[in-house]
Amino acid sequence: MPGYVQVNSKVVQVPVAPGREVLARRGAMLAYTGQVTFRPVTAAQGISGMLGRVVAGETVKQMVAEGSGQVFYGHLGLHLTVIDLTPGESLQVEADRLLCHDASLTSSVHFLGQQGGIRGAVRGAVSGQGLFTTQLAGDGSAVVLAHGGAIGLQVTPGRVVAVDPQAYVGHRGQLSVDVTAKVGWREAVGRGSGEAIQLRVQGQGVVYVQASEQKF
């Protein structure tokens, strides 16, 4: 479903029509034309989905835009990246960094370090890196926020990409993400390089990285 127009690097124009509602971060609407109403929603994926979100701390309040018209979205002057998904494709993005997406996309909560099992989860929690992500799947578009703009890095089998957890925005495709901690004696004595915790991304797809190590 095309139709998302980037007005400039920080504002996106999204068409809304009956049967084509748009979910967005609450308060991110800048302006709209036409007959559009905004209604707060709590992520409705059943009890387990809700629970998952609360546990994961991925509770960014959302609103749905209904009616027909054009809505302009933006948030904190952050750069935007529009990602179009085709059926069968999925995008994982940190909930904090999701600006808006078609309501036709199904969303669920995932944990990035699944491959690491419990140890991965503990590591994620200990490092204070919010590694729980929202997964979007289906046919539609999504807009993600990035401080300083995001670049997409291609990942192919045999070409592993490592990402700083603070610069990680999201990823799409068949990728597995591992949290690796290279904590040695240097970190222990406070002489670490500042790159002890990394996300190792492998498989086939694209990982999005922002030009900053700032979370918001």
């Binding site: 703009g149 670049i151 990982v207 900053s212 190590e213």
Partner: protein, 206 residues
């Protein structure tokens, strides 16, 4: 030698083939290949004397060394990046504006005179010399201004990022009774460059 390349205006990519590159600690956002990160030696590889000098002058420089084969992506707080190639030249740069540099380049602390006193940047600045590329941070796109013997340049110390060439710095004050009673224009202190070279300034005042 490590190859530097910009990806957009805020990310710099460095290709390494077994060499190393020094960067601001923690500025790596992603990498491909086999790269290891290590805090650059005591005093950023300047030896014990260098480290003591940095401690004493407050021009702290927190560098790490990235070694291996692959590509490293660096960025810092979404600020714009300028690549400055050096060919047996010396670049003067604020330590807070340094993002990455070829590991073959030498860094040092030098006395800059009275400039820093007003800008709160201390009386010392970092110099980078040798052959290689330096990635410099600037808050907004930087512009480089040419200085020639007949065209001296005056800049705001808060907007100054780096300078290169045969330049002498002097300090210009324009303090009058207006500044004294708080009605100054806000441009009482300036930095004057004479000689020939290039000065890099950013469109923001620290």
């Amino acid at each position: 030698m490590a190859r530097f390349r910009k990806n957009g205006s805020r990310i710099v990519e460095v290709d390494l083939a077994g060499e190393s590159v020094k960067s601001l600690a923690g500025a790596m956002i992603a990498y491909e290949g086999e790269i290891s990160f290590k805090k650059a030696g005591f005093g950023g590889g300047e030896g014990i004397r260098g480290a003591i000098k940095r401690k004493a002058t407050g021009e702290s420089l927190d560098l790490m060394e990235c070694t291996g084969t692959g590509t490293v992506y660096f960025a810092h707080d979404a600020t714009e990046i300028e690549l400055v190639p050096l060919a047996s030249e010396t670049l003067q740069v604020e330590s807070s504006s340094l993002l990455a540099l070829d590991s073959g380049l030498k860094t040092n602390v030098t006395f800059t005179g009275l400039r820093g006193a007003s800008a709160g940047q201390g009386l010392f600045t970092t110099t980078v010399s040798g052959n290689g590329v330096v990635a410099v941070l600037s808050d907004g796109p930087a512009i480089s201004l040419e200085v020639a013997p007949q065209y001296p340049l005056v800049v705001d110390p808060d907007a100054y990022v780096a300078s290169k060439g045969q330049l002498t710095q002097s300090f210009v004050t324009d303090v009058s009774w207006r500044s004294a009673i708080g009605k100054g224009s806000g441009e009482a202190f300036s930095l004057r460059f004479d000689g020939s070279g290039v000065v890099l300034i950013q469109p923001a005042e620290r």
